[in-house]
Subunit: 194 residues, 2 copies
């Protein structure tokens, strides 16, 4: 689901994992350079503004990956419910592979205690939620749901995805993601009733 | 939905709000005493171990309030779906009343950057998720759902609630909670099909 990592990706992978596992403030740039085995100077080349820029890049990459995967599953020919269900099964496999440490829920960034950038992070997370909602909502409209119902179901699906990821990482098991997959399939496959 | 605040409650209300709005580390005990207008010494009387004990008490109180509300709505005579929907509408009203600052999602505690107590906080959050799931699951079994389906639907409902709260607080609007209420009603009111 992810590209073969280049240096920038390797830095972001390592940074996300360290921020999440040991805390944003406790993670230094030197450790990110060392653990990602990236050439000295490359972190400052890609992220001249340092840690804050790195945090925003982590959020944006999570967002882009998820949106791309969502769109990809949505175009796979199945129903919207199957698409979200496939996405959640994919996340569950990835989470298990990384022993529930490689994925970072958006909620992590919302709670990061950074006085300076928290507004920017909050804005970024808001855009991410809206972006996912739009991808799902547009598909539901194409499936024949009325606009209002599509928006509502898309919002609930985003809640389901983010809540399930959070529960899975907290309990370190995939059950909540699979339960959410089931629920999404039920929720999105029902024909519009109005 | 909450009792008339006594001193302990006032301390916890203030502490939760300050931790969430300005960060756990940035919040000092003196500010909590001052903002909660509680007598000097009462914080140390109720929470002799200080800030860490206070954090755990905040989580446990969130959990107890939510479990109590959940059970209360579940016993109100309506369906399980109506009960969760009523709960979410209640949360939406409370969130709006507090301008989206009085409520703290569990995810906040999961991301708090506290090296010493994070394991304890994570354990506490895990228990909370399981507790909510049990309240909902037990009711679904009473409603005639098979055990496996009840557990799955209960887990998805918890994801829906926590994800919606997170989205609502991030976007500072109640839409996600109302959308989740609708989805919960659909998800839990369907008769068992197997």
């Amino acid at each position: 689901m992810t590209n073969k990592p280049n240096t920038r990706d390797a830095i972001l992978d390592t940074a996300s994992k360290l921020f999440y596992c040991q805390g944003y403030h406790a993670t230094g740039l030197n450790q990110i350079i060392k653990d990602s085995e990236s050439p000295k100077g490359s972190l400052y080349y890609y992220f001249p503004d340092g840690k804050e820029e790195l945090a925003l890049a982590c959020i944006n990459r999570t967002s882009e990956n998820m949106s791309r995967d969502l769109r990809c599953y949505m175009d796979n020919g199945g129903s919207a419910g199957e698409a979200v269900s496939d996405l959640l099964h994919g996340i569950a496999r990835e989470a298990e592979k990384s022993a529930y440490e490689g994925l970072v829920p958006l909620s992590f960034w919302l709670a990061v205690e950074t006085s300076g950038i928290s507004d920017q992070l909050q804005q970024a997370c808001r855009s991410v939620f809206l972006d996912w909602q739009n991808v799902i909502g547009e598909r539901l409209v194409r499936d024949g749901f009325q606009e209002e119902e599509a928006v509502r179901k898309a919002s609930a699906t985003v809640s389901l995805i983010e809540g399930a990821l959070l529960q899975a990482l907290t309990c370190k098991e995939g059950g909540p993601l699979l339960a959410a997959a089931h629920a999404a399939a039920e929720l999105l496959n029902r024909p519009a009733e109005k």
